[in-house]
């Protein structure tokens, strides 16, 4: 019963992620639980568990996505947490690349690099912008109060009509034209 309240941390050296197509799998080495051992764990014997598909959730996706990564069993409908990796940059290179690719797909939040135009029409803002994921046209409701959130000073999160998210990591580093547009329509 108490187990549910404990955070399980995974040792980056004992886990391997592998990516086939868009499917991320995990191989986990754990100590074999044994009631005979003094601390309940029989040292030196590894138990290898393979999860054919795991899902990743960053605990701090906006502020820092390299730390505290929740690893979950995606084959179970309830996607239960298997454990947390505190710093996934310490994974072996192949695993690290697999994790980076998976996170890149799961968190599809394009960062706006340049704003070409913003147009207001009948309560909607029509954006045309260059993002780090490619050029994109999107539409958001013209209610800055509800659909534009300042997550940190100068760092904005925009939510479009499809609940897709776009980030402006720092308004101040945008070019002058983009800044002017953003300021005019987000009322900064």
């Amino acid at each position: 019963m108490t187990k549910a309240f404990e955070v399980v941390y995974l040792d980056p050296e004992r886990i391997t992620f592998e990516r086939k197509g868009d499917t991320l799998s995990l191989t986990l080495q754990t100590d074999v639980a044994s009631p005979d051992a003094p601390d309940g764990v029989l040292e030196g014997t590894d138990n290898i568990i393979h999860y054919p598909r795991v899902a990743l959730r960053a605990c701090f996706p906006v502020s820092d996505s390299t730390e505290f990564l929740s690893v979950r069993d995606a084959t179970d409908e309830a996607i239960p947490e298997l454990g947390i990796i505190e710093d996934w940059s310490q994974l072996q290179p192949a695993s690290r690349d697999a994790v980076a690719a998976e996170l890149g797909l799961h968190y599809f939040v394009p960062k706006i690099i340049q704003v070409f135009s913003i147009k207001e029409e009948l309560g909607f803002l029509y954006w045309v912008a260059e993002t780090d994921k490619g050029r994109k046209e999107f539409v958001m409701r013209n209610s800055v109060i509800h659909y534009a959130r300042e997550v940190a000073p100068g760092h904005w999160l925009l939510i479009d009509v499809n609940e897709a998210r776009y980030e402006i990591p720092d308004v101040a580093v945008l070019d002058a034209h983009s800044q002017k547009l953003v300021q005019q329509f987000l009322y900064l």
């Binding site: 019963m1 197509g21 868009d22 499917t23 991320l24 054919p52 598909r53 899902a55 996706p61 995606a74 084959t75 409908e77 690719a101 890149g104 797909l105 799961h106 968190y107 599809f108 939040v109 394009p110 029409e121 009948l122 309560g123 909607f124 045309v128 993002t131 994921k133 490619g134 050029r135 994109k136 046209e137 539409v139 800055v144 109060i145 009509v161 499809n162 609940e163 897709a164 998210r165 005019q184 329509f185 009322y187």
Partner: protein, 758 residues
């Protein structure tokens, strides 16, 4: 990095028969696989590439196989290929800003592709198809992935405002206007009157400058061959006074009539909306959030009223501009042309005002809203702020927002102080042109001084209405959009009633669920193949984890929703053949969160039977264990509750709702977690009331605390929408199945709490 300067257009759905639209490289790849594109049954495009950027992937299907092909820089390559018969299941999952589609093949999960949120519906349909095909075989029809998505009903383009079914470009203005005029039929007379009043007002407005002209030319004429006629002076001044008085009177009557008509018209629409709203099914209310509906009914009609008044002003201004224009040109055609010179400036200034001033105002409003929100949070959380000693931090935050507000206010005033003098200059410059040109004409004796003076007066009346008319298209668009939304709500199909309802004198209360399958979204069933029967007078407990589908079963029984497959029968009659009133008269429900309407306690208890006698109300309250506390209240049964009314505790409110159910006297009673949100002592009191209520009725009780179900005849365990176990509680305990485990878990939790185990 790949070249990505091309914007990603909204991806296409290629319908079978139109496969020529597939990119040639994809077709080539398919042909390499030995498949001819015209054999495809489905071709759907995703807008994300495998590299997590905007890109292009195709999901293709023929009657035997499924492929995923990626296209990148004009070349296509095959990513996945699966025989359809080997796909055991398929589903979509929500990620952040996108979604993914997974299939199970040989017990192994495979993620096929990701797609952006725009395409959620589309891929959901495909996944549902694959799931259904795996379950029911290849006869399941291939879906049209584009059906029922948020596209404009007329032009088929993606809809931005999903609260409307037609995009702004496609609103059929003429048709809409005809409908509006039809809707306004009761006000036709009054509207005609308003138009007459408007025309009269314009005519009256045109008179004073004309009289001024006579005054100057024929009365105040000094020198010259013939002097003026002084006797006309009192008459002319008197007439001017009379005209002013008539104008005042006309303005009052016009304004009053306009307000009267627009207010009554919108109130009429509101009534119609509400009357229609009550006929809609619960399903509709699920799909439309309370907030959005509130907006439709309150804000939209409010705005409609404002717009009706605004349209009246526009009409007046159109008459004025035409009237004055005609007078100006007929008085002095040459000067008339000069009037047109400042016109572009006036129009430009009005447009500039909208573009330039409006953002400043909005920025100010937003800043003010943010400051207010912050203050609101602080005031409602002041205890927390103090308990965590964060006063200084809060002060800093408030100060920052206050500075933003200050700056935006300064910007508004600065912009206004620049704008206003400039616009005044533009207006008076127009006048100066007339002074110069008109002055020369007077000196050359082409026109009289009076004509020039009248001309200048008319001019003053000309530019105001003209600048006002520059917003007309904006207001008109807004008006049409809101009208469209209003009509859409009025056009929503009401709850389905049976064509020929079966009448029964009295329902016995036998309930039968026959292989019931149901999903709020038909693509995601939450109840799967559930069958059970409840005999009259029996009490059944439904248990299961949260989200297992317990409440859904009850919603189906109340016919808030219709089953997707299978049937529910009461006394052998399909629920769909019974009239809605009949069903709901026979079914009583006590919910987890009791809902009290604004009104007295007596009215609340008698909600289902407004004609109940006081004796019956007290009897019901007594049986619900509520009489005791009600009579202790200063106003007793007359206590006003609901919004703005007296605060009752959760347990007290629950007992009121039980009294309501007792008075309603249904054959079938549903208790949906009726005691889960109250403390143990209150629970005991409510339980006592419930024991009274269930006597002699068919009862279905959903309970979180299993202890409350020990006197149930049978227990039904639901897990993930499927019936897992059923039988008398004792038997289930002996079987050591899921019910046993649920009880075990609660016992452990209870002992954790230090509470005696069930």
């Amino acid at each position: 990095m790949r070249d990505s300067t091309q914007p990603v257009a909204i991806p296409a759905v290629v319908k079978p028969g139109f496969v020529a639209e597939l990119p040639p490289s994809v077709t080539t790849t398919l042909q390499a696989e030995g498949v001819q594109p015209d054999a495809l049954t489905l071709a759907v495009q995703s807008d994300l590439g495998p590299d997590g950027r905007f890109g292009e992937q195709w999901l293709l299907m023929d009657p035997h196989d499924l492929w995923v092909i990626e296209r990148h820089n004009g070349t296509a390559n095959l990513r996945h290929k699966f025989p359809l018969d080997k796909i055991e299941d398929a589903k979509v999952e929500r990620c952040v800003g996108n979604g993914l589609m997974q299939v199970m093949v040989d017990q192994q999960p495979h993620v096929l592709l990701h797609y952006s949120n725009e395409l959620t519906d589309r891929f959901g349909r495909v996944a549902h198809y694959l799931h259904a095909r795996a379950e029911y075989g290849e006869d399941v029809p291939v879906p049209d992935p584009a059906a029922d998505s948020h596209t404009c009903l007329v032009c088929g383009r993606s809809l931005v405002d999903t609260s409307s079914k037609v995009c702004p470009n496609c609103i059929q203005r003429g048709k809409l206007f005809r409908r509006l005029i039809e809707l306004a039929r009761p006000y036709w007379g009054k509207m005609g009157l308003i138009v007459i009043l408007l025309v009269a007002g314009v005519l009256v407005d045109l008179l004073p400058p004309y009289l001024t002209r006579i005054l100057i030319d024929d009365v105040l004429r000094v020198g010259g061959s013939a002097g003026g006629d002084p006797t006309l002076l009192p008459w002319l001044v008197g007439s001017l006074l009379g005209i002013q008085l008539i104008r005042v009177l006309l303005t009052i009557v016009t304004n009053w009539s306009t307000i009267n008509v627009s207010t009554r018209f919108t109130s009429h629409i509101r009534d119609q909306l509400f009357a229609h709203l009550k006929k809609l099914s619960v399903d509709y209310f699920d799909k439309n959030q309370v907030g959005r509906l509130m907006t439709r009914i309150n804000q939209d009609t409010e705005e409609l009223q404002g717009l009706v008044s605004q349209l009246t002003t526009f009409t007046l201004n159109i008459f004025l501009v035409i009237g004055i224009g005609v007078v100006l040109f007929s008085m002095a055609p040459s000067l008339g042309l000069y009037v047109l010179i400042p016109t572009p400036f006036v129009v430009a200034a009005a447009y500039f005002y909208y573009r330039y001033m409006q953002p400043h105002f909005r920025r100010f409003w937003v800043a003010r809203w943010r400051l207010n929100a912050m203050l609101n949070t602080f005031l409602s959380g002041v205890r927390v702020v103090k308990a965590f000693a964060q006063e200084d931090e809060e002060e800093r935050r408030y100060h920052n927002r206050n500075v933003t507000l200050l700056n935006s206010r300064l910007q508004v005033d600065l912009a206004w102080s620049k704008f206003f003098p400039l616009i005044s200059f533009a207006f008076s410059a127009g006048g100066l042109i007339i002074w110069y040109a008109g002055g020369r004409a007077v000196l050359a004796d082409r026109i009289t001084l009076g004509t020039l003076m009248a001309f200048l007066s008319y001019l003053g009346m000309f530019y105001g209405p003209l600048s006002n008319l520059t917003h007309i298209s904006q207001a008109l668009n807004r008006f049409l959009t809101i009208s469209q939304r209003t009509f859409e709500l009025l056009d929503e199909t009401p709850e389905k009633q049976p064509v020929k309802p079966v009448r029964t004198a009295c329902l016995g209360g036998r309930i039968e669920f026959d292989k019931v399958t149901f999903g709020y979204d038909p693509y995601y069933p939450v109840i799967r193949d559930v069958s059970f029967t409840v005999e009259p007078g029996e009490m059944i407990g439904i248990v299961g984890h949260s989200g297992a589908g317990k409440t859904t079963l009850v919603n189906l029984l109340c016919r808030f929703y219709e089953v997707t497959r299978g049937a529910i029968r009461i006394d052998g009659i399909d629920l769909r053949d019974l009239s809605m009133e009949e069903v709901r008269q026979q079914v009583g429900i006590v919910l987890q969160t009791p809902f009290l309407f604004h009104g007295t306690l007596a009215e609340n208890i008698a909600y289902g039977r407004p004609d109940a006698t006081r004796r019956a109300i007290i009897q019901a309250a007594k049986a619900a264990n509520a009489h005791g506390f009600i009579t202790q209240l200063p106003e007793g049964y007359d206590t006003i509750v609901g919004e703005g009314g007296a605060g009752l505790s959760g347990g007290e409110r629950q007992r009121i709702s039980i009294a309501r159910a007792i008075l309603h006297n249904p054959r079938i009673l549903i208790l949906d977690e009726a005691t889960s949100s109250v403390d143990t002592d209150t629970e005991r009191q409510i339980q006592e009331a419930l024991n009274e209520l269930v006597k002699g009725r068919t009862t279905i009780a959903i309970a979180h605390r299993l202890s409350t179900l020990y006197n149930a005849n049978r227990i039904i365990v639901i897990n993930r929408g499927k019936l897992e176990e059923q039988g008398p509680p004792k038997q289930l305990m002996d079987n050591k199945g899921s019910f046993y485990h649920l009880v075990q878990m609660q016992t452990q939790l209870a002992s954790l709490d230090g509470v005696a185990a069930v």
